[in-house]
Amino acid sequence: MTREHIIVCQFDENLLGRLHKKRLVVNTSADANIPHICQFVNNNQNNLHCIVIHQNNTLASTPFHENWRGIPIAVFADQMGSFKEIMQKMRLIRDLNIRIFLNTDFKENFTNIHILASLGIDCGVFFGENNLDWEALNDLMTYSVYSKAHHATIEPFHFIINNYNPTRTTDFSSVYFNNPYTYLHIDSEENIAITKNDLIEGKYIASGINLIPDISENEKYKEALHSWQEFFLQENGCAFCQAWRVCMGKFSTSIKDNPGCSKFFVDMMEAADYFLSVQHKNKRKELWQP
């Protein structure tokens, strides 16, 4: 089956001019002209899936603007910055079609995400390079899934519980635009990669926009789709973990220095099971219709 991929690329007018009838995720910086990007993408017969703003400064210094309304946006920032500055923009942020991601390398971000979600801002964590505080992540997940208080969604927990199927794997890479079933990454030279990191590191699977429609026939692409099977060839590898179906070995390289992933993902699965049972319980009877 041919799959229509969403293409992830930098905002490069030249490259975008060569892409037609594609759904696009456009990476850009905080000082970019967001409405212009949106307009440019749509004028080229492409569909904007999302604009990803990589904020090198704090979240508070992001120039949120009224003219961002309606544009799907994800902001990735290392730190939140001044709470007071965020509060001044709170009403606007809440009205935007936006999801905010903060870096797990900064311990205070677990609390910051807790604050933002409780104020109705959809948000999430993105995993940094340092050892992850699994306990803090678990607390945040518990709040996200179990808290009866009104709050916005927190990724990747929200994705997992909404896509969880006890009989299948649930790959939350999509939250970070890295799931090869859905996303392909491409640079200005039309090099195609499975993930953003692969693209940066030059691990391309193909080169050329014209190859995208038939990418499912590409051997390297097929390999990437089945790369998870490698875990079954390792003795006591991640595939033998109770939480494999949700984690799928994403933390295999750090597990030695920073164990705790298994416990977290087991709890995550329990939460997903719980959510599923609640949904099942609340499911309304569907009466036959004449």
């Binding site: 709470f83 007071k84 609390t111 807790h114 409780s118 104020l119 009866k148 208080a149």
Partner: protein
Amino acid sequence: MANILLTQQCVRSCPYCFAKKHMADSIPDDILTWDNLIYIADLMEHSNEMGVSLLGGEPTLHPHFVDFVLYLLERRFHVNVFTSGIMGEKMFNECERVLGKISPDRLSFVCNVNNPEKSSFSELENVRRFLKTFGHLSTVGFNIYKHDFNLDFIFQYVNEFGLRRHLRLGLAHPIPGQHNIYVHIDKMKLMAERLISYLPVFERLKIKAGFDCGFPLCIFTEEQIGKLFKHNSGRLSFGCGPAIDIGPDMTVWGCFPLSNTHKRSIYEFDSMNDIRNFYRDLHQKVRTEVSGIFGDCDDCIYREENLCMGGCLAHSYNHFINEANIRFKEIYK
């Protein structure tokens, strides 16, 4: 309205302080965390209680005080802050810049003041600076801890700084088993007389005096009650009910003088109502054992009809200090 303690530290050491025992037993560096604040806010919202009081110690000593206020306002809580008005330059400037323009419908302060004659110069300067800036958001609170108190300086504050024309009168209460200064039972009628002597000034200046908890009805004569009734447009309260306090360590208790008895974890309860009902039941048990602060409380029809609660429960607890454990067992937990 629940009281959230942001910190256990205070900038003053008032002789009557009925939070003294609680403060002394607490870890001074213990401050409320963001995660705990969110938990409390969630619990209150879930309980449909959208008013919250922030106190301490001195709440402005909390490093995130302003952020906490902004957060709670953003969640549509009405925020009331109990403060001494004494704070450092940096915190004051931050409060002025961020909180100064917030509508009185959403934010209010109760500035607890002491007699200037008993206060240091720098303390007074701080209080005056606070009232000058936040007068429009502030009500003055005064704790009576001796029968011959003086309110003249409060009238001066209200006029000079354009404060809300309301005085919140608290009564210092005993801490069971401890030594603090409070108005002794046999001096309460004198205290009531003193208070009534100020009524003409209250009326002339159009300032209303409202009672905090623990004032017994019978310390006032029939004539004095009549005057108070007219002064407060019929709104008189001689109650003593659980005022739920939540500590930075997420313990809860039924009011400050009773903070060393029956502390519970907030996580034991599902709603604010659960907490309130727990302490209401407990207080009821104490009142079954000791009706009120006076011997006559046992047969008082006003107490039976809940017009008066028989004064502060802390006095009743004092009865249990030097006796064998012969009361309801729940009282001793």
